[in-house]
């Protein structure tokens, strides 16, 4: 309905102003209307609401986008999208600022060196430049000198890119770790790897919606963890009195994070002692006979002492914990009072829906395997593995990649492997949405990057990757292209989202997937033969046809639909929302996606795909792995402390340095504003980067306790040096009264490194000393001993 200005003023004045006549003059009303009412002559066009999917982090929340006259005005959550059901995190709210950022790169460009000026080139030139470089490498049989690093989730773009790489030369695609890798591995070792055919992998998932008591070992649930849009809305549900019993959240950790502050209880503890704390709770569960006896007896192995096939006796988990993890000992390690451990353990065992989360799942600090196994052992003790409100390993099906012979695709999240390839001076480096990488690179790495002859970036904004690049192939924002959503990290259901572009790309920017298809043509028609689609919609359609034939799941619907579908499936019914592939495609576009709301195991898991068919406190897989690693043959004598390495255990984390030199422990974390890396260039996100009201954006800070600050005569806002064994960097101090003495919190991310608002700053990576997991040989922590003093 369109209103003429006169009508509008009449209406609004009558309704708003009319009753206000008692206090406000007529002149005031007209001025008010002038100031607040839209000018019809200036109103820029028709108002529309469309849908899209966010790609600010790997989560992929559903978006509802308001456009006026073809311009994006506001972004909110899509109430029909199951992941976020209407809410979105502040990053998605800032999407319009990304779309209309003044430092968008709007055309491909090239330069001879990273210190030379850019020259705009055409897409054909750009693709041919990269294509011929790749062809040259391939002809010289040096395919391994191409390194591709991505920051995208596990969607079709990543699949296409890894297929390209596998056909090109068997190269892996390096991706941003989700942080769940170690916890997933721990569960795979103890509960087995579910049967999956060749194309499917498994993933770790938590049924947080139905959890009732959560022991969180260091996960920054309300900052950078899993899918913020999902976790933040869950937090509201946990505390919604209309849903009945409140879900209690107990946060273990040394840093007074937002998650610690907002939890029902924060249990401060020493850095790197999550395993000890979990086993201390296990001690109480076992010695007070609070564990789920029925579950442990029938569905687990290795709980009691046992003898293996070769006749060697092994210590059971029960005796191991009772002898080694007495509360006084655990208190010594962790600093947690034994009364707290006893109380928490009793509450944990009191009802169904108990879940132990962790340890410390953030992309750069996935935690240690031994700690993760201790946490999973807790879940097994209360019967929460594969149960409602618990943890499970689910098949990771995602968008099917519709090609017959995709070769062996390889995704790698190992930072160590990536950095070692970087050190071998690659010829071509492609940084696809990889601004996150610069959080883990120090000056030496940046120097290595500068020596690479061809560095390609797909960044849509001037950021850290463009400062290093010599060829820019600008991607566009999710609003300007077909957006695909996939099952987010740790999400309990399987899900695929799909939306059309909200508006056409700004300038000449082009979706990376379409550039990849052109690149395949330019590199080698034989590669292109494996990727026979002309554009993204065609690929999506081919993939959707395969989903349609799966004969499971539903198109997105309301929460009422969801309940109804669950009810039907429990009684053995499945009413398909489509009869043909064509109908499925149309339904996908109309509803925004497909999902399987019944994916979580309905009955508690009783059998596991481990050698024993049970949940293994003593993991036979790990046993095998360590034997292979140590070159121990099956029949040979095992070292005396062999069981100690296999059973969940505690081991000191931080290397002992002279405590006088470095008195504090620095714990890096990801603030919500910079979760998933990148987007430091958006002023809206800079302004909210510090919930503790630290310096208001555009600079990094460190958080230290009031006591530590007092000893060092440091006041809030003072510039300080943060020094570790590797070097020192400058930061602003933020003094937090309630923080634990001896602990320093340090956010990743920080000021923009490129563009009009760039503020040069030392990277936190300069001083971090990564700690490697002894079994997995991957980075588990970057907690570092430091000292802090005034500049």
């Amino acid at each position: 309905m369109k209103l003429a200005r006169r009508d509008f003023l009449g209406l609004a004045g009558g309704a708003v102003g009319g009753a206000a006549l008692g206090r406000v003059t007529l002149r005031g009303i007209s001025r008010l209307n002038e100031a607040l009412a839209p000018e019809p002559a200036l109103y820029p066009g028709e108002e529309k609401w469309t849908h899209s999917i966010c790609s600010m982090c790997s989560g992929g929340c559903g978006l509802r986008v308001r456009t006026v006259g073809g311009r994006v005005i506001k972004v909110d959550g899509n109430p029909l999208y199951p992941v976020n059901r209407g809410g979105v995190c502040p990053k998605a709210q800032a999407l319009p600022q990304w779309l209309y950022h003044p430092d968008r790169i709007l055309a491909p460009r090239q330069r001879s060196k990273s210190n030379q000026p850019w020259q705009t080139i055409s897409w054909d030139e750009a693709v041919n430049t990269l294509g011929s470089a790749l062809r040259r490498l391939r002809q010289a049989d040096q395919q391994n000198r191409l390194l591709v690093i991505s920051g995208r989730g596990n969607g079709l773009v990543s699949q296409l890119c890894s297929t390209f790489l596998s056909v090109y030369g068997g190269n892996p695609l390096f991706c941003l770790p989700s942080g769940m890798e170690t916890s997933q591995q721990a569960l795979e070792l103890m509960a087995g790897h579910p049967e999956a055919n060749g194309t499917e992998t498994v993933r770790l998932a938590y049924d947080l919606e139905n959890s009732r008591y959560i022991l969180n070992f260091g996960c920054d649930l309300l900052e950078g963890w899993a899918t913020p849009g999902h976790t933040l809305s869950l937090f509201g549900r946990w505390r919604d009195s209309n849903r009945g019993r409140r879900t209690t959240l107990i946060h273990f950790g040394s840093r007074l994070s937002v998650s610690a502050a907002r939890a029902d209880e924060w249990v401060p503890m020493e850095v790197g002692t999550f395993g000890a704390a979990a086993l201390g709770i296990a001690f109480v569960l076992i010695s007070e006979d609070l564990y789920n006896r029925e579950y442990v007896t029938n569905s687990t192995s290795g709980f009691e002492d046992w003898t293996d096939a070769a006749g060697r006796p092994h210590i059971g988990f029960r005796r191991w914990v009772r002898e080694q993890y007495r509360l006084s000992q655990v208190t010594d390690w962790t600093g947690i009072p034994s009364e707290t451990l006893v109380r928490v353990a009793r509450e944990f065992a009191a009802g169904p829906g108990a879940l132990a989360l962790g340890p410390q799942q953030s992309p750069t600090q996935p935690g240690r395997l031994s700690d993760a196994m201790a946490v999973q052992a807790l879940n097994a003790l209360v019967g929460s593995v594969g149960a409602r409100g618990g943890v499970a390993l689910l098949l990771n099906r995602g968008w099917p990649f519709p090609t017959k012979d995709a070769g062996k695709k390889e995704f790698s999240t190992s930072l160590e492997r990536m950095l070692s390839l970087l050190e071998q001076s690659p010829e071509v480096l492609i940084l696809d949405d990889a601004a996150w990488l610069f959080d883990v690179l120090d000056t030496a790495h940046l120097e290595m990057l500068r020596r690479i002859p061809l560095v390609v970036t797909t960044s849509s904004l001037e950021d850290a990757t463009t400062t290093m690049a010599t060829l820019a192939l600008p991607d566009c924002t999710p609003l300007e292209k077909w957006a695909e959503g996939q099952t987010p990290t740790a999400y309990p259901q399987e899900l695929l989202g799909l939306t059309e572009p909200v508006l056409s790309p700004r300038g000449e920017s082009r979706p990376w997937l379409e550039v990849l298809l052109a690149l395949a043509q330019a590199t080698d028609p034989a590669i292109a033969a494996n990727l026979p689609w002309k554009d993204l919609p065609e690929l999506l359609r081919a993939s959707a046809d395969q989903v349609a034939s799966r004969q499971s799941g539903y198109l997105f619907g309301s929460e009422v639909d969801e309940q109804w579908q669950r009810l039907l499936e429990r009684s053995g019914w499945w009413g398909p929302d489509w009869n043909s592939a064509e109908q499925f495609w149309e339904g996908l576009l109309a509803k925004g996606g497909w999902w399987d709301p019944v994916g979580w195991p309905a009955e508690p898991q009783r059998s596991f795909s481990t050698p024993s068919g049970r949940f293994e406190f003593y993991s036979m897989k790990l046993d095998e792995l360590l034997r292979a690693k140590g070159g121990i043959r099956a029949a040979s004598q095992l070292p005396l402390d062999w069981d100690r390495q296999i059973l969940p255990h505690h081991a000191a984390l931080l290397p002992s340095t002279d405590p006088k030199q470095f008195e504090l422990v620095l714990e890096p974390y990801e603030p919500l504003a910079f979760f998933g890396g990148g987007m430091r260039e958006l002023p809206f996100l800079q302004q909210i980067s510090a919930p503790y009201g630290g310096p208001k954006g555009w600079q990094s800070w460190i958080e230290l306790s009031e006591e530590d600050a007092r000893h060092r005569k440091i006041k809030n806002g003072d510039p300080v040096w943060v020094e570790s064994a590797r070097g020192r960097i400058r930061r602003r101090a933020r003094v937090i009264e309630g923080a634990m003495p001896g602990i320093v919190g340090a956010p990743l991310g920080g000021s923009p490194q490129a563009g009009r608002w760039a503020v040069p700053e030392d990277s936190l990576a300069e001083i971090l000393v990564p700690i490697t997991d002894p079994v997995l040989d991957v980075r588990s922590h970057t907690a570092t001993r430091v000292n802090i003093y005034k500049v």
Partner: protein, 234 residues
């Protein structure tokens, strides 16, 4: 006649600040550049305020989303010499930017410090102004601005209702911050409608108002954090 008010459940708030960004996008609020941030001249119609209580280990940090309280007895209105700020019969404390002379009496009078002065002319480097909400004017240098409870949304909703010859429906008018809140910690509606969710929550034993003793009668009502002990042992 409705009396618009808001309830913010501090128990559900995750301190994510989605409300802060949503408000800035909706209301064309100018963002700060590095130099302005250094001077603390940021404008947030709603901001997140941390409160630290006690020292380690008995410490507690609380987070308070702080919009304009839309007081029934607003001290800012009393001091404005030019009637640039006043209260509507529906209880919205509004700001008439065109009439403001920038004297900043109101920013001083407001005990909640939620009024902001434009120290700089609006600077949205091209093409950022493309994202401007056409329903909200961009404020010039030298005027005070503040939360309007997304008053433009009320005008639009009411115009729709009148055009369709029906009363305004509950939920038809919601400010951007409330709409954005991922944990649904914010509830908005008519405080005078005893059946509205906001009025029911406002009667909760957990409800409190900021600086009530000043007699400002705020219409933003907070719900204190829930008692954990009462729920975990049950």
């Amino acid at each position: 006649m409705a009396r618009w008010g808001m309830v913010i459940d501090l128990d559900k708030c995750t301190a994510c600040q989605a409300c802060v960004v949503a408000c800035q996008v909706e209301n064309n609020v100018p963002f700060n550049k590095p130099e302005e941030a250094e001077k603390g001249r940021n404008i947030f119609w709603i901001k997140l305020v941390p409160f630290e209580e006690g020292r380690f280990p008995e410490a507690k940090v609380r987070f308070l989303p702080l919009p304009c309280m839309h007081c029934d007895e607003p001290p800012c209105v009393e001091v404005c010499p030019v009637d640039a700020t006043n209260i509507t019969p529906e209880g919205i404390v509004r700001q008439i930017f065109a009439r403001c002379i920038g004297c900043r009496y109101c920013t001083t009078a407001c005990p909640y410090t939620v009024r902001y002065f434009n120290w700089y002319p609006p600077d949205f480097p091209a093409p950022m102004q493309e994202a401007h909400n056409p329903d909200v004017s961009v404020r010039p240098k030298g005027v005070v601005e503040k939360c309007t409870l997304c008053h433009h949304r009320l005008q639009k909703a009411r115009a729709n209702a009148i055009a369709e010859n029906r009363p305004l429906l509950p939920g038809e008018y919601t400010p951007a911050c409330v709409e954005s809140c991922p944990p649904k910690a914010m509830v908005f509606g008519d405080l005078d409608d005893p059946n509205s969710e906001v009025a029911q929550l406002a009667r909760s034993p957990r409800a409190f108002r900021l600086l009530e003793e000043l007699g400002t009668k705020p219409k933003v009502i907070y719900l204190a954090e829930g008692e954990r002990s009462a729920t975990t042992t049950g």
